[in-house]
């Protein structure tokens, strides 16, 4: 028997492939989008630079020395001890936007069973988390060619619940104390543009800022320290969603949501793209202790057995067929709001049948996406 025959025979009982070309392209776009958020990308841009001519080139970008506007998420900051007020239940936001030196931290827009996540920006650096028009892309490209485009930054703050984060997972980090908190400062030895700081903001509860930039020098470790003192607690506010569900397949539970963003780090990577909300359900709830990173990791991998809901402006959707008819294919189902302005999608990469995903969409009630006053807290919205 030839080797080819041996191998072919060994794999002759292979199940049909569950992954399609479309599925891979879709995942690839997601990976690219996240990397664009971290590295210099021409597709999206937001400028916080002071020493460059970019503000005039980017429509919608405020003028010089800009502090980026936070997404319209709960951000009512109150005084009080951080250790007490930062602690909260799943799907609750417990801090608001704050500034620390050149840093600007937005209000959190992602909440899960184990943590909250907020975008982090820095003066003089670009964060690519908002789409720009083609004309601006050309202008940005020109600046890049001239060497005038500033360094880019993709950074986020994850506030883990007590026990949720394992500080030892930051292998090789310097152990130190910052502002009275036990802390870890980390620089990736293989990629000096990747840095992180983790600090224990309350007993057993850690906050982590991860930063990826195109600069090997900025932000420096000392810069990251500035963030520690800036974090303070706010009035606990439930994460709110612009939709409610009347049907969820048996055995599935919500594990992560995005409010004014899609869920997870993908939501952070597109934080200022004007997305409305999202949620991830799974039938195999991920661990909520001893984590090293948010669910799905930096590459946004799917969670085992998960499905995801996206509620975004139709203009942001890559599904451009109009109408409220539910269309399914390639492991996801999509529909539009009655006014055609909002795209609503359930995606499971084939883990749920089209019939199940259709049933979820049929049971989804959309609120006024433009006004979060009438949105529903996540726990209520996702537990029919």
């Amino acid at each position: 028997m030839r080797l080819h025959d041996v191998v072919d025979l060994a794999i002759s009982d292979a199940p049909p492939p569950s992954t399609t070309v479309d599925t891979i392209v879709r995942k690839g776009r997601r990976v690219r989008r996240r990397r664009q958020a971290g590295m210099a990308g021409a597709g999206v841009a937001l400028v916080v630079a002071t020493a460059f001519a970019l503000p005039a080139l980017l429509p919608g970008t405020p003028g010089a020395s800009v502090t980026p506007a936070a997404p319209a998420a709960p951000s009512t900051v109150s005084s009080g001890t951080a250790a007490a007020s930062l602690l909260g239940d799943p799907f609750i936001f417990t801090f608001g936007a704050f500034d620390a030196g050149k840093w600007h931290v937005s209000a959190p827009v992602v909440a899960s069973t184990a943590y909250q996540i907020a975008s982090v920006y820095r003066d003089g650096m670009v964060t690519n988390d908002r789409a720009v028009d083609p004309e601006s892309i050309a202008d940005i490209q020109k600046l890049k060619e001239e060497g005038k485009y500033p360094d880019t930054l993709y950074a986020f703050l994850v506030l883990y619940r007590p026990g949720a984060y394992d500080p030892e997972s930051l292998a090789g980090a310097e152990k130190t104390t910052v502002d009275g908190h036990q802390a870890r400062i980390y620089a990736d030895p293989k990629d000096r543009s990747t840095r992180a700081i983790a600090w224990e903001y309350a007993d057993g509860a850690w906050a982590v800022v991860e930063s990826r930039s195109t600069s090997e020098k900025t932000p420096a470790a000392a810069d990251l320290r500035e963030l520690v003192a800036g974090l303070d607690g706010a009035t606990a506010t439930p994460a709110k969603l612009p939709f409610t569900l009347s049907y969820v397949p048996a055995g599935y539970v919500p594990v992560e949501v995005g409010s004014h963003a899609t869920s997870g780090l993908n939501g952070i990577a597109s934080a200022r793209d004007g997305n409305y909300g999202g949620a991830i359900f799974t039938n195999e709830a991920p661990a909520t202790t001893g984590l090293a990173e948010p669910f799905g990791g930096v590459d946004g991998a799917d969670l085992p057995g998960d499905f995801e809901i996206f509620v975004i402006p139709a203009a942001n959707s890559n599904q451009q067929k109009p109408g409220t008819q539910i269309r399914c294919g390639n492991g996801f189902c999509t529909t539009r709001s009655a006014d055609g302005k909002t795209s609503i999608q359930v995606a499971s990469d084939g883990r749920l049948s089209d019939a199940e995903m259709t049933k979820i969409l049929q049971g989804l009630t959309l609120a006024d996406v433009t006004s979060d006053a009438n949105w529903t807290d996540a726990v209520t919205a996702l537990n029919p």
């Binding site: 030839r2 060994a10 002759s12 891979i24």
Partner: protein
Amino acid sequence: MITEDEEGFRQFVAAQIGPLRKLAYLTCGNWHTAEDAVSTALAKLYPRWRKLDRPDLYAKTMVYRAAVDETRRPWRRERSAGDEMPDVPLRDHSAVSDERLRVQAALREVPRRQRAALILRFYLGLTLEETAGVLGTSVGTAKSQSSRGLNRLREVLAADHIDLEVGNEAGASAGGTGEWTRAAA
């Protein structure tokens, strides 16, 4: 990615997903894990598509690493009633199934790294240099790994009264898995 590039990527995925799936499965022994490894590797390839001269080798490297990373357990412990290979091959009434289980068991007896070298070199038709690149080893190590893997497989099959014929299989291609250059895309 511009439309032209994306179409090239799509063609690449359509052509390579089958061989990559086989490589992943034969490395890790689990179809679900293999599927995940291929899907993840190709998704990561997407943003790098324009930058690679040999995306086929990049994809094979990523798939191999992903398949290894996701299966720290010895292959023989992978078991389920689903898509995985049964741990203990059982004879059945079907001669084809019986023989399939025997060759599956034989492949499991080849250490994973040697098995991957064997598949890359003699089944997917990579050169020694390309095989070394995918495995992350020297050419000498790739050569010894593939050779030892082949010998081990031959021994195990012989014990089951199956003669492994190894002719000039090096360089042969399974299902159009040869070099994928930018021009080909």
